[in-house]
Amino acid sequence: MIYLYAFLVGGLICVIGQILIDRFKLTSAHITASFVVAGALLDSFDLYDKLIEFAGAGAQVPITSFGHSLLHGAMEKANEVGFLGIGMGMFDMTASGITAAIIFAFLVAVFFRPKG
């Protein structure tokens, strides 16, 4: 069942993005930036974790989960060490993704060339 929910929830999040693009002529950068903020916002009410529980990758894969992970890492560290933990833990959960994106982007740029 989780597979079906992953498909449905993931698809629906993308449809929201598509409607924002078509209806309000938002650029890709505007869409992704606002989705990250939306993810962080949902996480601050602990709603995003419930969505992940329900839809698995359907909630983990969309960029909204980046905002959720940033806030989540920050709060975990803050609970450990206090206020400064917000900054210290900010990238805790997203570090592997950002690292991978930088490394792969760099390597692809070294070994491929744009096709146009």
Binding site: F7, I13, C14, G17, S44, P62, G97, V108, F112
Partner: protein, 146 residues
């Protein structure tokens, strides 16, 4: 001298194909997430811990999106899928890889490295700023109000 163009421009304006675009976004976005879910299961079967499978799945999707960008396929997928490939983490990886690739000719430092976050920078900036503000509020409320 002609003054009133507005009427003709509005009358002949093209409407976006909302339904077609939304269906494509739904199917492609849903499929990418479904694929992510299958990856989670595979990594679980391979014996990874629950915390690790999530990271591995995201990293795998980033790797695939970067490679598809490198071989020149992702832009074609993106044109069909729209938000379906933009909103998942694949879009984030593509924005970084495509920028890095495009500026290859300007050198590794001034080209690739400085332009890597040209498009993805917005996501990271807004993510960090919003998470910091929300985190601070939540910390203050949890520790001093409640």
């Amino acid at each position: 001298m002609i003054i009133n163009y507005d009427k003709s421009i509005k009358k002949n304006a093209w409407k976006p194909k909302y339904l077609r675009n939304s269906i494509r976004a739904f199917v492609s976005g849903g499929s990418i997430c479904l694929f992510g879910q299958i990856l989670l299961k595979l990594y679980e079967l391979a014996g990874f811990e629950k915390e690790e499978t999530g990271s591995l799945m995201i990293v795998t999707l980033i790797l695939i999106a970067s490679l598809l960008t490198g071989i020149g396929v992702f832009d074609k997928i993106g044109q069909w899928a729209g938000a379906g490939s933009l909103v998942p983490v694949t879009g984030f990886a593509n924005s970084m890889t495509s920028a890095a690739l495009e500026y290859k000719k300007e050198g590794l430092v001034l080209g690739v490295a400085t332009n890597l976050f040209k498009l993805a920078g917005a996501v990271i900036t807004f993510g960090v700023v919003s998470a910091y503000i929300l985190g601070m509020l939540r910390y203050l409320i949890e520790n001093f109000v409640l």
